[in-house]
């Protein structure tokens, strides 16, 4: 901060025009640099979209879109192969639903405790530990799901096998929990203290203050946190590949074995010959995943926008 202020002061106060010009050139250079960096992100995004479209769309020449999206049979190595992604799509929805249903209430409650109730010392110890959870590799989460959780789920729900969407969803909820806790806690802490003090002054209890003042005020940040968590759950691959069971039927409940879209791509791409029909079908699944995460982001954006307008009133 200080280092930046000094040359500005010199440039404005001093008669040294050379220094001012140099300053301007530096400014332009940095401007251009930032512009290029911004452009690069867009170019990469467009490149990914173009690649997905180029590799994925040709599958519809062979399999009509109707059959591809609503077909319930996926036999890529048969003669002739059939590609219907309905089982994968429904599996992704189930697993994301389970993961969200667990991680959002637990995560937001944990964030509210850390931001509003916990003493400083507790918060400073607990938050880094929760964030450490995000650093556990997904393969390790898969092993834990395989060895510890799936036998538990099997006996608790009296299932034929513990390798099912429910186990995968529970593991994913653990993986999106740190993101939700961390981002929501930041959002809650950013709520001005005057809000709380005003609430207490009106005679509200701590609980009423959290529920009616702090959380609504931080809702935009919490929504962003939830969407990040949902995004993680939709995109996670290794854990679901290991734990979800990988059955090809359209799952009617989360307790059935299932194969979400990410697992279908991961387990199929290895033996797909470049440019072959299976390769194209897998890219088309990638396209569907991309559109799905895009939709999540657009919805999050809309919610944030509405929230802002509400506060502006």
């Amino acid at each position: 901060m200080l280092g930046q202020q000094v040359p500005v002061a010199t440039a404005e106060a001093g008669p040294d025009k050379g220094l001012r010009r140099r300053w301007r050139i530096g400014e332009k250079f940095i401007e251009g640099w930032i512009f290029l960096a911004g452009l690069l992100a867009i170019v990469v995004l467009l490149g990914i979209i173009a690649l997905l479209l180029k590799e994925g769309l040709p599958v519809f020449l062979d399999t009509p879109p109707w059959e591809f999206f609503f077909g319930t049979k996926w036999y890529p190595v048969s003669e002739p192969p059939t590609f219907g992604i309905m089982p994968f799509f429904v599996s992704t929805l189930w697993i994301t639903l389970v993961a969200t249903a667990i991680s959002v209430p637990v995560g937001v409650a944990c964030a509210a405790y850390l931001a509003e109730v916990a003493p400083n010392k507790v918060r400073e110890t607990v938050k880094p530990i929760v964030e450490l959870l995000a650093g556990i590799p997904s393969v390790v989460m898969g092993f834990i799901g395989l060895m510890l959780l799936s036998p538990l789920v099997q006996s608790a729900f009296n299932l034929n096998t513990g390798l099912c969407g429910l186990s995968a969803g529970i593991m994913l909820s653990l993986m999106s929990l740190p993101i939700i806790v961390s981002v929501s806690e930041d959002a809650l802490r950013a709520v001005p203290d005057q809000f709380r003090q005003a609430s207490y002054a009106l005679g509200a209890t701590r609980w009423e203050t959290i529920i009616h003042v702090s959380i609504p005020a931080a809702l935009s940040g919490i929504t962003a946190a939830v969407m990040l968590g949902v995004g993680r759950a939709i995109g996670e691959t290794m854990t679901v590949l290991m734990v979800a069971g990988g059955a090809l039927a359209v799952p009617l409940s989360p307790t059935e074995p299932m194969m979400p879209m990410t697992a279908a791509i991961a387990s199929g791409i290895g033996n797909a010959v470049r440019g072959g029909l299976q390769y194209q079908a897998l890219f088309a699944i990638g396209l569907v995943l991309f559109v799905l995460t895009l939709a999540v982001n657009v919805i999050a954006d809309r919610v944030l926008e509405r929230q802002k307008r509400k506060f502006a009133r």
């Binding site: 991961a266 199929g268 990638g286």
Partner: protein, 300 residues
């Protein structure tokens, strides 16, 4: 989205094994040892063949410190795709290469060269507490197409059958589909049959064996090398009138076990140099002794 670490957990143990082997072999560049063979190559493919290739690679690298071999086992299909795309030197496979695959290899300038390195008796395993002792191919086909869904229908307890298979990357998946699900070579052969939609497709053989070890109602088909004390192999009957045969080295060698299959290496053209020396070692008496140790069936 496509940067997910696909099957890294299969490659990592192989890499650790390799690192250990290199460490055991002593400092590289220290001179001495072996016949001056050097180079590095990769073996990619069948999950079934991986334990065997890893042992061979480890021993070969001990004798030839100048050679480094990377083994990974995503599945035969993945290995053949790597061979076609030119990203592996040796493809290990637990099924024969298909004509369509040979065609696309040739189109890419790759000429697949086949070498049988061992034989496998594909075992069908259940939980040790399961009272069922033997199944016919026809019954197995019905189980894997979800036409039989309860153990009671094949002489077991009144419990649902949890049917486990490998995923489509696996050569075992394809071999089992052709020879058991579609009953190749039997009068009841039906090429339109597919795995049922309730079948669990798992990404590794080890995971399937682990699930059978803890699930009393599960059934799975690992290679003989993956059969442990914790699971029970079933006797297989080719038809209802023939006696049930348990999978073993002897029954696979004398041809009485109905679902034995070759384990293969594919290279681009006839192998040369270090790859050639490695394959010669695999086929030698010493190499074939390792086959029995790992639990597969050596060539005669």
């Amino acid at each position: 989205m496509f940067n997910n670490p696909i099957r890294k957990w299969l490659i990592v143990p192989a890499a650790v094994l390799m690192a250990a082997a290199i460490a055991l072999a002593g400092c590289p560049g220290g001179g001495g040892g072996g016949d001056g063979l050097s180079g590095s190559f990769s073996i990619i493919g069948s999950n079934t063949v991986t334990p065997l290739s890893s042992v061979w690679a480890e021993d070969f690298m001990k004798v030839n410190p100048g050679v480094s071999i990377a083994v990974s086992g995503p599945g035969s299909g993945a290995g053949i795709a790597s061979l076609i795309n030119g990203t592996t030197d040796i493809c290990q496979a637990s099924r024969m290469i298909r004509q369509t695959e040979i065609d696309s290899a040739r189109a890419n300038g790759v000429e697949p060269y086949e070498i049988q390195v061992a034989t496998d008796a594909l075992s069908v395993v259940v939980h040790p507490s399961n009272p069922v002792l033997e199944l016919t191919i026809v019954q197995l086909s019905a189980i894997y197409t979800n036409r039989i869904t309860n153990w009671r229908e094949v002489g077991g307890n009144d419990e649902p059958i949890v049917v486990i298979s490998r995923d489509t990357n696996s050569g075992t998946h394809v071999f089992f589909k052709e020879h058991v699900v579609q009953m190749k070579g039997l009068p009841t052969e039906d090429k339109t049959l597919e795995y049922g939609s309730k079948v669990l497709f798992l990404p590794s053989t080890k995971e399937g064996v682990d699930e059978v070890a803890q699930n009393p109602n599960a059934i799975f088909y690992p290679g003989l090398g993956y059969v442990t004390e914790e699971v029970k192999p079933l006797a297989i009957k080719a038809t209802a009138d023939t006696p049930g045969v348990l999978p073993s080295v002897e029954t696979a060698l004398d041809g009485s076990y109905p679902i034995a299959r070759p384990l293969l290496f594919y290279t681009n053209g006839e192998p040369t140099g270090a790859v050639r020396a490695f394959i010669d070692y695999c086929l030698s008496a010493e190499g074939q002794a390792k086959v029995t140790e790992v639990g597969y069936v050596p060539l005669q």
